[in-house]
Symmetry: C2
Subunit: 453 residues, 2 copies
Amino acid sequence: MEDLDRQEILDDVSYLIEAKQAPKLRAIMLDAYPADIADLLTHMEGDYRHYLFAALDRHTAADTILEVDESTRQELIEAWDEHQLAGLVREMNSDDAADFISELSPELAAKVLKLFEPEESAEVRQLLAHEEDTAGGIMALELVAMAQDSTVEEAINEIRKKADEIETINHVYVTGEDRRLVGIVPLKKLLLAEAYTHLSAIMNRDVISVLVGTDQEEVAKLARKYDLLSVPVVDAQGRLVGRITYDDIVDVMQEEVAEDISHMAGIASAEDMRDSSIIRTVRLRMPWLVIGLFGGLVAAWVLSFFEHRLQDNILVLMFFVPVVMAMGGNAGIQSSTIVVHGLATGSIDVGDMFRRLLKEMRVAFMNGFLCGALIWVIITIFWRSPEFGFLVGASLLCVMFIAALVGASVPLLLKRFDVDPAIATGPFITISNDILGLFIYMAISTMYFWYWQ
Amino acid sequence: MEDLDRQEILDDVSYLIEAKQAPKLRAIMLDAYPADIADLLTHMEGDYRHYLFAALDRHTAADTILEVDESTRQELIEAWDEHQLAGLVREMNSDDAADFISELSPELAAKVLKLFEPEESAEVRQLLAHEEDTAGGIMALELVAMAQDSTVEEAINEIRKKADEIETINHVYVTGEDRRLVGIVPLKKLLLAEAYTHLSAIMNRDVISVLVGTDQEEVAKLARKYDLLSVPVVDAQGRLVGRITYDDIVDVMQEEVAEDISHMAGIASAEDMRDSSIIRTVRLRMPWLVIGLFGGLVAAWVLSFFEHRLQDNILVLMFFVPVVMAMGGNAGIQSSTIVVHGLATGSIDVGDMFRRLLKEMRVAFMNGFLCGALIWVIITIFWRSPEFGFLVGASLLCVMFIAALVGASVPLLLKRFDVDPAIATGPFITISNDILGLFIYMAISTMYFWYWQ
């Protein structure tokens, strides 16, 4: 929503709230998208927020509370008792219900679950039992599954029966003996087939499915590769147990991106941008800062180690410490980012490792050569010292080459040993390259002054 | 595909190619997913690659060539003449056809287009006329649109007619006078309604659509916010002209992420990971490296500027230049990354600017205070100099605070003036913080030695 639009709507809604026009608000919000109502709620003050949320009909309220950010959600939840919350949960799909309940305090969650029929609460408990970042953790139980000898007409009747319960239906899953998944029929095919056709005659037999324990990142990769709208989930015996829908797949993609970007920036895990707790944010950011601090102290030690060896020359060398550090850092980050992102999206695989490394090394050599030559020219012109310019330029070439090599090879090695390469981007690469770069610069300088002077 | 599986399949396929079993290959590949065939092609040698691709039936070949990477595609295209290419294009959706033709050389594209009926080639030309990164540039013309007084039965007949031409149909669009978009009917509703029902009675009237010229990033944001499977595209008069499907929306999301990550790493635009040209890669990475180089030279100038003022003390201060630079860089990158990513995903908006800045400042002060205190303790213990430790610690606090402030405020300011904040992450922030940080460190040190010694 644009800022101006929102302000106008906020004014209108606030007016209705002040006039205590709950029924009118409910009627207006029935036509609004939950994402827009969530947007309004986030931009309202406490009492207004509670009044508007309480005015919503149950179905809209359930959709809306799933769309607001975590801190607003917590605030809204605190104002409601377990009976009201159970009413909301009843309106949700099983996967959303499980996510919602997992965010409640354990006591409140138990109270809410007690209000359900044993069968209903068993469903939610079953979903809660799966690891959060696996296919089982993001799947919904609501789906249309038919035996393979059912007819098109029977399938349509089943869809009719479940239409209220399931928001989006794009496929009918076909199961064989023991609920094993054997095929899939897109709604389009169902619409075009004759009523008495057997599903087995029109189904697509080559179904792409995932196991309950499959990592959610893997699910998103599959969905992207094969352009899937939803992914069926099966257990170890191949029995259909759930499906992952489009919106959850997109959420996973976003989550993974946020994680990768956080790692690149040296933040322990994805920060909720709308989270207002300073302490939580500090805690997420401190670990890499402290590691960086010790890295910097090691760098100080490297410099002091060379102090006596370089004697009178140390000071002039010091002036170019920032440029050597920064350029090593830049070259390393460029290489590692490209490799990490390539590995994450699957456009580089471990089989390509050597080809990829070779390319990075050639690029790094060329970049280092160009930058080294440039700084040589600049130092020769402005500091009038071609020898010293050559020393800095040669160091720059070595430092940038090594930095890019480290940047590209560390993530590839991590991947080879099944460690998430994203942790290798950003601070880790930068810190090791800072230390390595200073060491190389100082070592080359020591040799230079040793031999030539 | 896992490496082991792929090697086995590659061996089998290579055997069939050597035995010149084209019909058998065609039959096998009919059951394979185009993404998997593309995967095989990329991992094959030249002649084998051409043989396998030529063995595919036309429909599979068209789907497959859209899935391979750019350099493999160019290689495959070069081996085919315009008649063969036109045959492929005929099998494609209009949006894929336009993308494919836009990758051909202008002469070849003209030759291919000449082989089409005027009407067909006009469609493709029309799509080619839109800006690549707008809704018009990614939309397809194939869709099912019905007048609002049509019945459900008529809509189903229309779908039947178009079923071959359109791969995925999830909605029927309903148009009023002059092809203006007035509603949308999901297939599920169509399936459940009686045959003689008018579409106007069951359609959803609150349709979210985009204009032909809408930026593709905006389209992806809308689709994500409202969980849309496809987005209808209208012209300035509200007339339905196309639709953007799920797979293209996901592609846009991926593209935007790749762009943002590249900017963060100081790479001019998203690198194609599978691109093997060294020169192209060097050209993408050099601009920020050169800017970084000049930034480093400015840093050298800052240090030399303070040389005379600090005299004997300069050398010991120099040892801590790396730690001050690195910590300023880290704090700045953390803040700017969080703000840029928040702005890109819409979880921060410009209205939140001051609240957001205030939070970043408080976090930065706390982080700076903790790191400053830590380095004070360490220098006191290991260098036995509490005064000097205090000097470095106080500098660290100031540098980290200012760096985070710059990191958070620059993207917010850019956004305020409608510049893409992604360019402000990574190198730009790092370079300005390097220079600013060194200046602050040196200035504080100068004052310190001036007053206290």
